[in-house]
Symmetry: C2
Subunit: 199 residues, 2 copies
DNA sequence: ATAATCTGGTACTAACTAGTACCAATGTCA
DNA sequence: TGACATTGGTACTAGTTAGTACCAGATTAT
């Protein structure tokens, strides 16, 4: 039970780094094997073929990237604080170098792997929308916010927070933003939002 | 002067369709030649090599996509009307199938062609931000808007308008939105924005 | 220790690729 | 019409790729 899992893990890790760096077509199984050690046979036994290996890599990375987002504190502080905290984590997760690299590859390979694209959206941004929507809904019920459409409001807020940072990062049109830049940016978006939504 | 240009045009058109459909690596010069007619020699004489052909295709598509955006009416109507009109054109241009396909390829090939990514951002979204910023700045000067930071406000507005539609489209996580959906979406974003920015 | 299973390494197949070379045919221009 | 440049088609080179086959050696369990 240990030998196989070790090999699987090593292959997955090597493939992850290589796919992130060179893309799907740019990564050959020879490269994966050279990095992970082992032989072609093991790869094909564990993952079926190259597509299977790629799908496994994406799934694995998604899990790891999203793990951080699921343990956020939604209770502590006023809405302004909570939304800033959540928003900061959201944008940080989106522009993290590994996340950007993953987005690039998945977007570039959407026509070959349509499911990976929808899966990525639903497990990432879509979930964030839903959670923020729930929070806003509670604020509306509690009378802290005007009676806005929670889902729409959540999307508008998060998109303002995301700003052009994500697209910029995807297109490589900028160096990674600093922590302070992110903070200022998020605060400003939350302020604009609360200006319209808070009672 | 005519024979050569004809061949160039035919090759460019064939290459455009094929790159959009199969991506950079997925398109071979044999496919381009089979579609355009002619011979390898002509391709190499006109475009140097495969990279040159790809760069030419992207430049050409960018020009054509952006041509529509540059002829908008910024004078007619109240801010609410103007911003809705501009915003609608903006989002329509972003989610148009050919634009989405182009974004996908460029994003997927950013590491191979870094310049194409930045060029795409600067000639597309960045220009829209600047133009809307100028408009907002004029409104601030005229007293129609509160004294907001025009550039920041423009970005927030356009990002709200863009919403999740672009990322969704890039990830193939949705069918193309209908005209009415877009209209409703843009109006709502403009309303939220004016709620915070208008005097 | 011995039998059964799994793995590493390598060799191989069949197919595809970008780019070069070359000649006959076609079109252009004087 | 005749000189000249351009183009089509094809063949070729050198390299790469995913996937298969196979055997000796390592690992595990009995």
């Amino acid at each position: 039970m240990s030998r196989g899992d070790d090999r699987r893990e090593a292959i997955l890790e090597a493939a992850t780094e290589l796919f992130l760096k060179h893309g799907y077509e740019g990564t050959s199984l020879d490269m994966v094997i050279a990095r992970a050690g082992g032989s072609r046979r093991t790869v094909y036994e564990r993952f079926g073929n190259k597509e299977g290996l790629f799908a496994a890599v994406v799934e694995d990375m998604l899990d790891k990237l999203l793990a951080k987002l699921s343990q956020l504190d939604w209770a502590e502080g006023a809405p302004q604080e909570v939304l800033t905290r959540i928003g900061t984590a959201f944008i940080r997760a989106l522009v993290a170098p590994r996340a950007v690299a993953l987005f690039r590859i998945v977007i570039g390979e959407v026509s070959r792997f349509p499911k990976l694209g929808t899966s990525m959206f639903e497990r990432g941004p879509e979930r964030a929308y839903a959670q923020v929507g729930k929070y806003i809904s509670a604020q509306v019920d509690g009378g802290t916010f005007k009676p806005v459409d929670p889902d729409l409001a959540a999307r508008q807020l998060l998109e303002m927070i995301k700003g052009d940072m994500h697209l910029r990062a995807l297109l490589g049109a900028r160096r990674a933003p600093s922590g302070k830049e992110i903070e200022r940016h998020v605060s400003s978006a939350v302020a604009t939002f609360l200006n319209g939504a808070a009672v």
